[in-house]
Amino acid sequence: MKKVISGMLLTGLWLIAGCSSIAEQKDIVRYAENPGNGLRKKVTVGNCTYTIQYKPAAYILFLEHTPPDQLGQRRQQLDSMAWFNISFHIEGFESSPLRYKVSGLGDYDTRLNYYLNDAAKDMYLLYGKDTLYPVSYWFENNQNLTAAETMIAGFRLRDGDRPDHDLHFAFYDRVFQNGIIKTIIRKADIDHIPDIQNHNM
């Protein structure tokens, strides 16, 4: 009987521990997307707002729903990199920003082509004394389903898994001519990211 009770207690504790780790994983998304924690920055120029989201590895792993057997491999791919989502939208415009004041199909195609192929060339990351350029870039064409567009950029850091300096991100948007968009993700804020790598990862 004692064995049964202790077994049930252990199972209960294991379940509680499991649930809390899941909660922590969810928390990383909430944490990273809370502007107060310094990992999500907004730059507004006129009616255009750029949101720059720094994405720690745990954040990406959680949102990707990576199968447990692939977590280690995926984590290795993400480590030593600084990942950003750069999304932009036009205030009060309900369609894709690519359609904002577009003069025709040709103009739209030029814009789309810029974000698909050339925008990465207008991005850089100042990291310590280095100027880094994206080694990975993707434009999420949302086919006008939302009023925002998103670019994903990854920069390879040369030292360690976690950034060792402030990340000075810059992007020159040649389509909307809003000047150079800059923001800083502070090392102190990155150091404060809750460490959840030991929970099911």
């Binding site: 907004k42 730059v43 000075h168 020159y172 001519q177 000047g179």
Partner: protein
Amino acid sequence: MSKSEIRQIIITIAACVLTGAAVLFILRSSNKKIAVVDAVKLFNDYKMKRELEAKEAVRLQYLARQADSIRQIILVKSKSTGTSQKELQALYQSFNAAKATLEQEYQESNQSINEQVWKRLNPAVDAYGKERGFRLIIGANGMGSVLYNDDFYDKTKEVIDFVNKQYEEGN
């Protein structure tokens, strides 16, 4: 004079001094609500303007080199006796076209930089004024809008530091 009379006089004098100091402080504070900023210096010292110019310079230099190459060819060919008038004319046409492209690109680039810079500077100066409690910020541009101001009103350096910090960190 009795002690109470002396005390009353001292209190009155102290009250007068305090009131005077308060009035002076208020006057001085209200004076600070106006600032003069050298708009040309602000524009030229804005980091984004310099960075945009540096980006454009690469492209413009390439176009300038193209025009210069054609000019060099014209110089060499015009000295050579074997060059026909027709060939020279074609080269002159190419040179003029390259020069016109360069001038047009230069003007367009300047205009684009001006627009982008002021698009960012105007709200940044607004933010500076609101944050520091200024009621009026005058942009002096050397065209006679401000004929004289002393250092007390000149906030050019402060504004430049503010807008550059805001630019570097994002707003």
